[in-house]
């Protein structure tokens, strides 16, 4: 038996038929001593099987492909076109619970090769001309977290200097501890600017711009 129920599969298929346009790659990076790697692989496969536009690959976390996509942890799930999005839209840890919906939405946006933000936010995003890494610490039972993850990922879709990385705090407790993560979503930009909460785009972008300005 798979992880995704038949009813859910049927629904997802319908959504993919409606919205998927161009090819999307769903890459799962796995390694040894990794509790949820098998689940991540199976889940990736099950999702990819739902539509022809989704291509699934599994790669070792210590291999060439991982280097190419900038992946260092297992499991990591990358949603990409294989080209301009590189490994910038990613999930470190299993995208389960509420984050499963984020992953599906990412697949749709990556396939559409765009994401929605307001004109005001778009203008601010255009300023970002240096690499900015947005990490969003989450727990799978946090209903507010997908919004923060999706904002990071939408920004990454719209600006090639931005990396949007979800980090599952339960799977990577030491990482979460390092940044004193005690409430999620906890957003960390360039390992410098931090905030907590699922803010609207207009506030979120201010923190991103702040982190970017500090690089100058």
């Amino acid at each position: 038996m798979g992880y995704i129920g038949d009813k859910d599969k049927e629904y997802l298929k319908g959504e993919f038929d409606k919205y998927l346009k161009e090819k999307v790659m769903l890459l799962v990076f796995t390694g040894d001593n990794c509790q949820y790697c098998n689940v991540a692989t199976a889940l990736g496969q099950e999702v990819a099987e739902l539509h022809d536009a989704i291509e699934f690959h599994e790669y070792p976390v210590n291999g060439e492909e991982a280097k190419k996509y900038g992946v260092e942890h297992a499991p990591t799930v990358v949603i990409t076109d294989g080209d301009k999005y590189g490994g910038r839209i990613r999930y470190v840890g299993l995208p389960s619970g509420y984050e499963f919906s984020s992953m599906i939405e990412d697949i749709i946006d990556v396939s559409r090769r765009t994401a929605e933000v307001s004109d005001e936010v778009k203008m601010q995003l255009q300023m970002i001309d240096k690499p900015v890494r947005i990490q969003v610490f989450v727990t799978p039972t946090c209903p507010y977290c997908p919004r923060a993850v999706r904002t990071a990922h939408r920004f990454a879709i719209l600006n090639e200097n931005i990396i949007g990385e979800m980090v599952e705090a339960m799977e990577f407790p030491e990482w979460a501890n390092k940044w004193n993560v005690m409430s999620v979503p906890h957003i960390l930009i360039n390992e410098d600017v931090q905030f907590i909460g699922a803010y609207p785009d207009e506030q979120y972008i201010k923190y991103v711009v702040e982190a970017w300005k500090k690089m100058k």
């Binding site: 727990t139 039972t141 609207p200 785009d201």
Partner: protein, 316 residues
């Protein structure tokens, strides 16, 4: 950790509908089902996920037909049921509402929606307690969501401020996660249902009454909660690593107020027994009406609001 899957739903087109429902909690989802079944067109728009605050309830034991179910699971069932009928646009915040040619135009993040009627099912959000340390230590031990942050305190001791149903459920959930909670309640008696009182006693959770919290203290992270014992007047403290605050809710009614909807002095939308507000073709349902803060009542109100909208729109 759970390996459950929450499905997304995300409308991207502008739409013209009979009824726009703002908020996809139990009230909004129920309104959506009733609206479509009655024969109207409808859309539900939510700034976050479908499910509303019900999603955060660790456990629900008083919804008819379910002896006990996680709030997250119940919300998922609600959503999947509603999705069979009505389009739900998640992570799509309605920013403004204007009137144009006798219709409402909802300006949202993902598009514009024109509607003949609106149902506000916008719900509530957590109330802050307003003591020193609460703001400063937010995210450093102060939290408002046990399902989100409970994990971080496994093996540690935390205070739950507020001993009503939400606080009681939070404490029970924390205890089950392996956290040691202590409940601080302002009133002289248990403020939660008898059913929760029994579990609290059975699980040996400390429940302190007559406790007026005056400060959350700590250097860079929560270290203790200071409170005044209202019987003796004595200042006491509990050493804890975290504080979960469950002291009540505040209604999300700003947008409704903006289009002239009357609220009471706490901001809850005033409704008639049939869920009409003072503004024609505008209805409200669920926690934003301040009636009971119960999932089953919200769902009932949502149904009522949709039926009344149908009556006003179609039968006139």
């Amino acid at each position: 950790m759970s390996i459950g899957f929450v499905l997304p739903s995300a409308s991207r087109e502008n739409k013209e509908v009979d009824v726009a429902i703002i908020g996809a909690g139990p009230a909004g989802l129920s309104a959506g089902i009733y609206a479509i079944r009655a024969g109207m067109s409808a859309i539900i728009i939510d700034k976050g996920n479908a499910g509303g605050l019900a999603e955060e309830a660790p456990f629900v034991e008083n919804y008819l037909g379910f002896e006990g179910i996680e709030g997250e699971k119940l919300a998922k069932l609600f959503k999947e049921h509603a999705m069979k009928y009505v389009e739900i646009s998640e992570r799509n915040e309605v920013r403004d509402i204007i009137m144009e040619n006798g219709k409402f135009v909802l300006k949202a993040e993902k598009g514009e929606y024109t509607a003949k009627a609106i149902i506000f099912a916008t719900g509530t959000t957590h109330k802050t307690i307003g003591v020193p340390g609460e703001k400063e230590l937010f995210g450093k031990g102060v939290s408002y969501c046990v399902t989100c942050d409970g994990y971080f305190y496994r093996g540690k001791r935390v205070a739950v401020i507020g001993g009503g149903n939400s606080g009681a459920i939070a404490a029970i959930y924390l205890k089950d996660l392996g956290v040691e909670p202590v409940v601080l309640e302002y009133m002289p008696t248990y403020m939660c249902e008898k059913a929760y009182q029994d579990i609290i006693k059975e699980k040996g959770i400390k429940y302190i009454t007559n406790a007026m919290v005056t400060e959350i203290a700590g250097e860079n992270k929560v270290e203790k909660v200071v409170y005044k014992d209202r019987t003796s007047g004595e200042i006491k403290e509990e050493k804890v690593d975290g504080v979960f605050i469950y002291v009540g809710l505040i209604p999300i009614s700003e947008l409704a107020k903006k289009i002239g909807v009357d609220t009471d002095n706490r901001g809850y939308i005033k409704v008639s027994p049939k869920m009409r507000t003072n503004v024609p073709m505008v209805y409200a349902a669920g926690d934003v009406t301040g009636i009971a803060g119960q999932i089953i009542i919200a769902a009932g109100q949502g149904a009522m609001a949709a039926l009344t909208a149908y009556e006003d729109l179609m039968l006139r």
